[in-house]
């Protein structure tokens, strides 16, 4: 429908699919990052309630 | 049966922890399927024609790469000895391990089949049939493969040897597997090939564990 508004020629579908795919993937990544962040924060809270001291990350090696 | 499912669950868990299992299998299929054109030349018509072959070759490869260790690790760390003292007959032990193997390679391939379909420009309506064919044929690969794996338990770097032993067993599956997929893609629809493929799988599910268990008993001595 947009395509009629804005004439993108015979290959409009390719353009729309490209932009849609990028939007979809980026949105998915962002959603995952936010969800994951919430999950870890909740886990830290729960552990603090159980009495674990907050400490900096366990370093690699 | 508790023992049986306990074993299946343990093997799935090990597969996930030790080799990434389903994710790795998917990645592997993706790489192999997209590498084939490199080996065979980038002729799209040709590729479409041999799509079924590519599907099955990727599966056989995954099987050969993952089967060789299914009994070997258990043998080496003493687990097989203890498994043999269970009330579960060794035949069912072998069946449980083959089943776990099928779940970690056959199912990912079935999941990937539609993706491959897209690459090959397949008709949307044929996806369910494609998936069904893959699911029907792949058990044969795992259960026949178990025989080879059991036979080569003690040949410590037996990858090539295992391949040499099982590839001949795979030939019927390969032939009918390819023609079943081909039939799906062509106009004929699901046909005799699909039925034969299912029959082969059923036979493999029954006979594979029996042969594998016999081989394992000898290796335990």
């Amino acid at each position: 429908m947009q395509a009629k508004l804005m004439d993108l020629g015979p290959h409009a579908a390719f353009i729309w699919i490209s932009y849609a795919a990028v939007t979809f993937v980026v949105a998915g990544l962002v959603a995952w990052l936010i969800f994951d962040g919430k999950k870890q924060a909740a886990a830290i809270d729960a552990l603090e309630k159980r009495g674990a001291r907050r400490r900096s990350m366990s370093a690699v090696e | 049966m508790t023992s049986f499912w306990a074993l299946v669950r343990r093997d799935l868990r090990l597969a996930i922890r030790e080799g990434g299992a389903i994710g790795t299998a998917l990645g592997f299929f993706l790489v192999v399927v997209s590498l084939m054109p490199l080996g065979l030349g980038p002729d799209l018509n040709l590729l479409a024609r041999i799509a079924a072959g590519i599907l099955w070759i990727a599966l056989l490869l995954a099987a050969l790469l993952s089967l060789n260790r299914i009994f070997e690790t258990d043998y080496e760390d003493g687990t097989l000895d203890v498994l043999a003292t269970g009330r579960l007959p060794l035949e069912l032990v072998a069946a449980a391990k083959a089943l776990a193997h099928w779940i970690t390679t056959g199912i990912p391939l079935a999941l990937l089949a539609p993706v491959l379909g897209i690459l090959l420009n397949l008709d949307l309506r044929s996806y369910p049939i494609l998936v069904a064919t893959t699911l029907a044929g792949t058990p044969a690969v795992s259960f026949l493969g178990a025989i080879g794996a059991a036979l080569t338990v003690k040949a410590r770097r037996g990858g090539l040897l295992l391949a040499l032993v099982v590839l001949p067993l795979y030939i019927p599956t390969l032939i009918f597997g390819i023609s079943a997929v081909g039939a799906v893609m062509g106009p004929a629809g699901m046909g005799a090939a699909f039925l034969i493929l299912t029959a082969i799988s059923l036979a493999a599910v029954v006979l594979g564990p029996i042969a594998a268990a016999a081989a394992l008993r000898i290796q335990l001595q």
Partner: protein, 207 residues
Amino acid sequence: MQLIAEDLIIERGGRIVIDGLSFAVSEGEALVLSGANGAGKTTLLRTVAGYIRPSSGSVHLDGGDSELTISEQAHVVGHANAVKSSLTVFENAAFWSEYLSGSVADAESIERALRHFGLDDLAEFPAAYLSAGQRRRLGLARLLLAVRPVWLLDEPTVSLDIASSDRLVAAVNDHTRAGGLAIIATHLPLALERVRTLTIISRRMAA
């Protein structure tokens, strides 16, 4: 219940290792196998467990469950521990409990077994993190995870510290006191109760 071996002749790699051995182990009794390296202790144990078929003679269990083979009524702990490195200690134990008893394991009995061998602290660790002795203890914990009348132990004290050896001895004593029987191959003196010793003489080497 009595485990009886009659006139066993056992070959390995074409050589006769055990030549005409008979013995019996009764309920409540432990039999210690001793003998030099290569005398045939492991071979004998694996024959009793049913892995190796003797060239002649037989092993049978009088008074056991006649529908089951000896190996289905026995715990076998061999040189290898049957421990999976990528599972946690608890997962390892839970699997064997479920597999060997054929019924869903309850966490408490698993924890009891782990506690007996001092592994309760380590339950949530991957077995890859265990030291050699801890790993051996996890292999031995199997003995307490399912009830089986016959215990076949091949050098169970390997890598164990003194405290753990004592715990093993206690477990064996409990087992025999409860009417089980055990055959144990070992090079070390163990403070077992109700024990007899069978010394296997090597057929080929003085060393």
